[in-house]
């Protein structure tokens, strides 16, 4: 038990320490570590956690870590995974706040970050393609995907609105399909 908890802490610390650009940018790392390497969750589950993590209060990265930790090892798992994901931030921000008051103005930092941003674009894109193949299964899901991606990019609407609307759409589409199938049987 202790060993798994510790492994979860370290894995999530590694993910937190190398996530640049907020919770969504975590997806490629989660996919590699949590889905492919340790098989703690499936791609579908990851997406579910992301979507629900939008609608529950707090930071998405934390919510996702809590979900996975809880699924694996209950409440202790939730706590260890969550502490793991926030620990690097606390250390790095603490050090910067304490010692490097001009961190943002350092040219070398800006160069490094321009490079990292370019890599993050490629990493997220490849994660979207990989996971999208499994979740975008028909014309309806393709439509939901495109509408959400575009609207969320060009407007300031809260992600909660998209998630809730899409869930309702999912229900309506599936239920009406079911009805139609039954009528066809008759």
């Amino acid at each position: 038990m202790m060993k798994t908890l510790f492994k979860m802490f370290l894995t999530f610390a590694r993910i937190g320490g190398f996530t640049f650009g907020g919770g969504y940018a975590m997806l490629p790392m989660l996919q590699r570590e949590v889905v492919e390497k340790y098989k703690w969750a499936t791609n579908d589950e990851l997406l579910d956690y992301y979507a629900i993590g939008q609608c529950t209060p707090g930071v998405i990265a934390v919510n996702t870590a809590t979900f996975i930790g809880y699924k694996l090892k209950g409440i202790p798992g939730a706590i260890f995974a969550t502490l793991g994901v926030v620990t690097p931030s606390m250390i790095i921000i603490g050090l910067i706040a304490a010692f490097i008051s001009n961190f943002r103005d350092l040219e070398v930092v800006q160069w490094a970050f321009s490079g990292v941003r370019a890599a993050v674009v490629a990493l997220i894109l490849s994660a979207v393609i990989k996971i999208g193949k499994k979740s975008i299964v028909d014309i309806f899901t393709a439509l939901i995907f495109v509408v959400v991606a575009v609207l969320s990019f060009v407007t300031d609407l809260s992600p909660v609105i998209f998630v809730v609307t899409a869930a309702v759409c999912g229900l309506i589409i599936k239920i009406s399909k079911e009805k139609k199938a039954k009528e066809d049987e008759k």
């Binding site: 707090g58 921000i93 992600p159």
Partner: protein, 195 residues
């Protein structure tokens, strides 16, 4: 007791900010106004630092604010303040997520939950795609240069686009490469090319 106040104030931010790290912003603004701990321009500094350091943005902001507030008792106070603020921020979401997880386990086999997830997963991946567009805009496009020169061609960052394309090829060609390796490599390339 300033640390207790930090914890409680961030606890409420964590409880009410729904929709990810940047959703904490309006709450931080009103916190700055009521407590006088930081100003609006401090907040924009905090956003800049949070976005250019690894980790979830909301957590970075909490740590940074906590440090600034606790610093009146020295560096150790600052570090402690950072920890207290972060724990305050994440405590409510850990509790809520555990409750939601329990409910999900109970209704996991309901076909209606499955139906809702059918639509929800597509939206979820759509949100990630939109985040990708956001980072791409930051990486490939400089609105500052655009307003300065008025030239679309000057505002496009070609080095970034090429680096991005190369990294993307690496990901598809060499599936074993770890994302961390690619991030470190691109940081080195960024410094070498003075991007």
């Amino acid at each position: 007791m300033i640390f207790l106040e930090l914890f409680i104030r961030f606890f409420f931010v964590g409880l009410f900010a729904i929709g990810g790290g940047l959703a904490t912003l309006p709450f931080l603004q009103s916190m700055g106004e009521t407590t006088g701990w930081f100003t609006a321009s401090d907040i924009s500094d905090m956003i800049a630092i949070s976005e250019s350091t690894p980790g979830p943005i909301g957590v970075n902001m909490a740590t940074y604010v906590g440090y600034q507030v606790g610093e009146i008792s020295g560096v150790a106070g600052g570090l402690f303040g950072g920890i207290v603020a972060t724990l305050g921020l994440i405590t409510p979401s850990v509790i809520v997520v555990i409750i939601v997880s329990k409910m999900l386990q109970r209704f996991k086999d309901s076909k209606y939950v499955e139906y809702a997830f059918y639509g929800l997963r597509a939206a979820s991946i759509g949100l990630v795609a939109s985040a990708c567009l956001g980072v791409a805009k930051l990486a490939f496009w400089s609105s500052e240069i655009m307003t300065e020169t008025g030239s679309v061609f000057a505002a496009v960052n070609y080095k970034s686009i090429i680096l991005s394309a190369v990294i993307f090829l690496c990901i598809t060609k060499f599936k074993k490469l770890h994302p961390i390796a690619l991030i470190l490599l691109s940081a080195v390339v960024g410094i070498a090319l003075k991007m």
